[in-house]
């Protein structure tokens, strides 16, 4: 029987890796994939607790998060396509048009 906190360590490890990816990589697609990783880490938590309490609510929540991830990936990749078409680049630190 695997103790619950081991799932949390796994989740923490994936989360941290995802955060590092989001914060340091320049390629926008990698950043998006890192976000997927973070969401996945959250799912692990939810399912682990769901199993611990013998309750499926956590899993339902995970399904919503997957739905959310799908929507986010679709819109995010659409934005990347449109941006690439206009600026010929995928580098996040060249997307500085939000500046004052």
């Amino acid at each position: 029987m695997v103790p619950v906190d081991h799932y949390l360590w796994l989740s923490l490890a994936l989360f941290t890796i995802g955060v590092i990816g989001v914060l340091t990589r320049r390629n926008v697609i990698i950043i998006l994939m890192s976000i997927e990783l973070i969401l996945n880490a959250v799912n692990i938590n939810l399912v682990a607790f769901s199993h611990m309490f013998g309750n499926v609510d956590g899993q339902v929540f995970a399904i919503f998060i997957i739905t959310d991830a799908a929507a986010e990936a679709a819109v995010g990749l659409g934005i990347i396509l449109a941006f690439f078409r206009n600026r010929e680049t995928l580098l996040a630190d060249e997307m500085d048009m939000l500046k004052w």
Binding site: L23, T24, I31, A92, M95, L98, K99
Partner: protein
């Protein structure tokens, strides 16, 4: 009400025929051929003439006490009631009304009859001129205005016609508007007439304010009702104001100066407007308002004196003129003086009679002069004419008849009318008679000077013109012949009683002179007997024949003498030749003063109004706006920019964070999370302890 006689009921149509054709000419004339224009314009005047003749016979058919007929079309100015000067209340009435009585009957017949002949003449005279339709349009407009003037039943409507003829006169004098002298002459005529018109208008106002009516038929009763005594200064004021208007329109001293210049217009215009009809409007008006004049012996005296002096003065200028039309122009002024002399001595009917005969022979003289000018290719200087009698015989004989008529040779029309006036003048005052008598001699002299210089002696015509000399076309000659006949027999309708006549004309008109002046003014009887009258006639005939002989002697027999006489009277000749320098005097006294006033006002406008007012306001506005702009730039804008600068300075650290990079923002989120957990640990530790 029994049906009125047709022509009397339709007198208002008489002015309308020329008005319609005038409108057609001025709006559509350009598209019509000359022939159609001639037929339309002459035809409309002829129809007016037919109506006038019809109205004349229907007036004559009435008993002599009821020979006045008024036709009111509609009320023109419904102005309501007002207070008279003496406090009475009167209703202001100004109708579009027409009045026909013996006086207007005579005027209408003269205007339409002579007018028609001159129209026919013009179709020949103007045949080769530009603006044919324009000329006839103006001419018909003039006919309309003149007929309105003589048919009006009140002063205001008369004034409409009065101004209308003035306008047409202006338009026709300036017909050759491309010539500066012609357009200047038109302006001069208009402006000089305005002075007179102002007086006339004031007279109308005063009449309205004093008598409470401006209808001719009501003026006499109103004078009686108002209880005005003979010599009332208010009545004298009205009469003199009217006479100011008459001096303007009828070219009397001091406002005669426009008429000689008006000869710049085409010759038929000179004949119709400046000899036969328009210039006599003043005489007509004085006669029309004779009820007022008869109450004012002073005004009558002024009229008579001005008339007599004008007659002499103008005749003296006519003696030395070399331009054939100028001679006739001064002659017209002189003859108009005769008419006013007649009015002034109370012989209004004699004045109108002379007006009529003068319309015949002066119209004829102008038309014949036009024929002469036509023959010598536009030359008007008599020094370049001579010996034309054989080449243009019809013109010569008709003009000779006219000259005999104006000179007053028995039994031509001029003799009868002029001697009637002189006789009346003698009854009144011997001095007036003397002036008129002397003027008659001068008239004979300058008239035959014109005849001899033009038709007799040796030819002084330019050679290239010489072989072009030709008699005028039929359309011009027929009116000449008809007018010549009228000049001969025209006076016989009032054949003097001493020659077995019955003075029909004078009796016909006498009903117009409403108040017999003998009843109100004590007549000053001179040698009024029949012998005295015949004696006066023989005296004047003698002087006239002397004048003719003198002219023959000077201009046919001894053609070198005039120059010698002129030289020996150097200064005086020069004075007369230059028309007594009246034009120069008026220029110096009035025209240039008016110009100076204009210049002064212009300078005032430029310097004070523009300089001080407009430019000053502009400068003030600009200065204020400069201050305002400084305030706006440095204070208003400055405070705005200062605020912006302050915000900019304080925002400096925040701008460092706002670099627009998504990952920086995410890093901030992480920092926030760390802070959140740090706070959580801090709180947890304190909660435990």
């Amino acid at each position: 009400m029994s049906p009125q006689p047709y022509f009397l009921d339709h007198i208002w149509l008489i002015p309308m025929f020329p008005l319609v054709t005038a409108a057609v000419m001025l709006f559509y004339g350009r598209r019509l051929s000359n022939q159609i224009v001639s037929w339309l314009c002459s035809g409309s005047v002829f129809i007016s003439f037919i109506y006038s003749v019809g109205a004349f016979f229907q007036i004559v058919a009435r008993p002599s006490g009821e020979r006045i007929f008024t036709k009111i079309l509609f009320e023109w100015i419904p102005a309501g009631t007002y207070h008279l000067l003496d406090g009475r209340i009167a209703k202001f009435v100004a109708d579009w009304g027409f009045q026909i009585d013996p006086l207007s009957c005579v005027m209408v017949l003269v205007v339409t009859g002579v007018g028609f002949l001159i129209h026919v003449y013009s179709t020949g005279y103007m045949a080769h001129e530009g603006g044919y339709y324009r000329f006839f349009g103006y001419l018909n407009l003039f006919m309309f205005s003149m007929l309105m003037l003589v048919l009006a039943n009140n002063l205001l409507l008369l004034f409409v016609g009065w101004e209308g003829v003035g306008t047409c006169s202006y338009l026709l004098i300036g017909f050759y508007f491309h010539k500066k002298s012609a357009s200047d002459a038109g302006k001069k005529a208009f402006i000089v007439n305005r002075i007179g018109d102002a007086g006339f208008l004031l007279g109308i106002f005063l009449t309205s304010a004093l008598l409470g009516t401006i209808r001719f038929v009501e003026i006499g009763p109103a004078l009686t009702a108002g209880g005005f005594a003979i010599g009332d200064p208010r009545i004298t004021a009205i009469a003199l104001l009217f006479f100011v208007g008459a001096t303007g329109k009828s070219a009397q001293i001091p406002l005669y100066v426009w008429l000689p210049d008006a000869m710049e217009g085409p010759t038929p215009v000179s004949a119709l407007i400046h000899a036969a009809t328009m210039v006599t409007a003043g005489v007509y008006m004085v006669t029309r308002t004779n009820a007022i004049y008869q109450l004012s012996p002073k005004a009558m005296g002024v009229v008579a004196l001005v008339g007599a002096i004008t007659a002499l003065f103008a005749a003296s200028m006519g003696v030395v003129q070399n331009d054939i039309k100028k001679v006739l122009a001064y002659s017209t002024v002189s003859q108009l003086g005769y008419m006013f002399l007649a009015c002034g001595v109370g012989a209004f009917t004699a004045g109108i009679f002379h007006l009529m005969t003068h319309a015949f022979f002066k119209g004829l003289l102008f038309l014949a002069a036009g024929s002469v000018i036509h023959a010598v290719s536009g030359e008007q200087d008599m020094r370049k004419m001579g010996a034309l009698s054989k080449k243009i015989p019809v013109t010569y004989w008709t003009m000779l008849i006219a000259a005999l008529a104006i000179a007053g040779i028995f039994p031509f029309a001029g003799f009868i009318s002029k001697d009637l006036i002189l006789g009346k003048a003698y009854e009144k005052d011997a001095l007036l008679w003397a002036i008129g008598y002397f003027t008659a001699g001068m008239t004979a002299f300058y008239m035959f000077r014109l005849i001899f210089m033009t038709f007799h002696g040796t030819s002084r015509v330019d050679h290239e013109v010489e072989h072009h000399i030709h008699e005028s076309p039929k359309s011009m000659l027929v009116p000449l012949v008809i007018l010549a006949a009228l000049s001969f027999v025209g006076g016989w309708i009032s054949w003097p009683e001493i020659f077995g006549g019955n003075s029909h004309f004078i009796h016909f008109l006498s009903s117009v002179v409403a108040v017999p002046h003998e009843a109100r003014i004590e007549p000053v009887k001179g040698p009024g007997s029949e012998h005295g009258e015949i004696f006066l006639m023989i005296l004047s005939e003698g002087l006239v024949i002397l004048g003719i002989l003198f002219a023959w002697f000077l201009y046919v027999k001894r053609t070198d003498l005039p120059q010698k006489i002129a030289n020996s009277f150097g200064g005086f000749y020069k004075l007369v030749y230059n028309k007594y320098y009246v034009d120069q005097l008026y220029d110096a006294l009035f025209v240039n003063r008016a110009k100076d006033l204009g210049l002064a006002l212009g300078a005032f406008d430029r310097n004070v109004i523009d300089g001080l007012g407009v430019n000053g306001a502009g400068w003030l506005t600009r200065s204020i706006s400069k201050v305002s702009m400084w305030w706006d730039t440095w204070i208003v804008d400055g405070s705005v920019r200062l605020g912006a600068r302050i915000v900019w300075i304080f925002s400096y650290p925040i701008r460092l964070i706002q670099d627009g990079l998504v990952q920086s923002y995410m890093l901030l989120i992480v920092i926030g999370l760390i802070g959140f957990f740090g706070y959580y640990f801090y709180m947890a530790r304190h909660a435990i302890h």
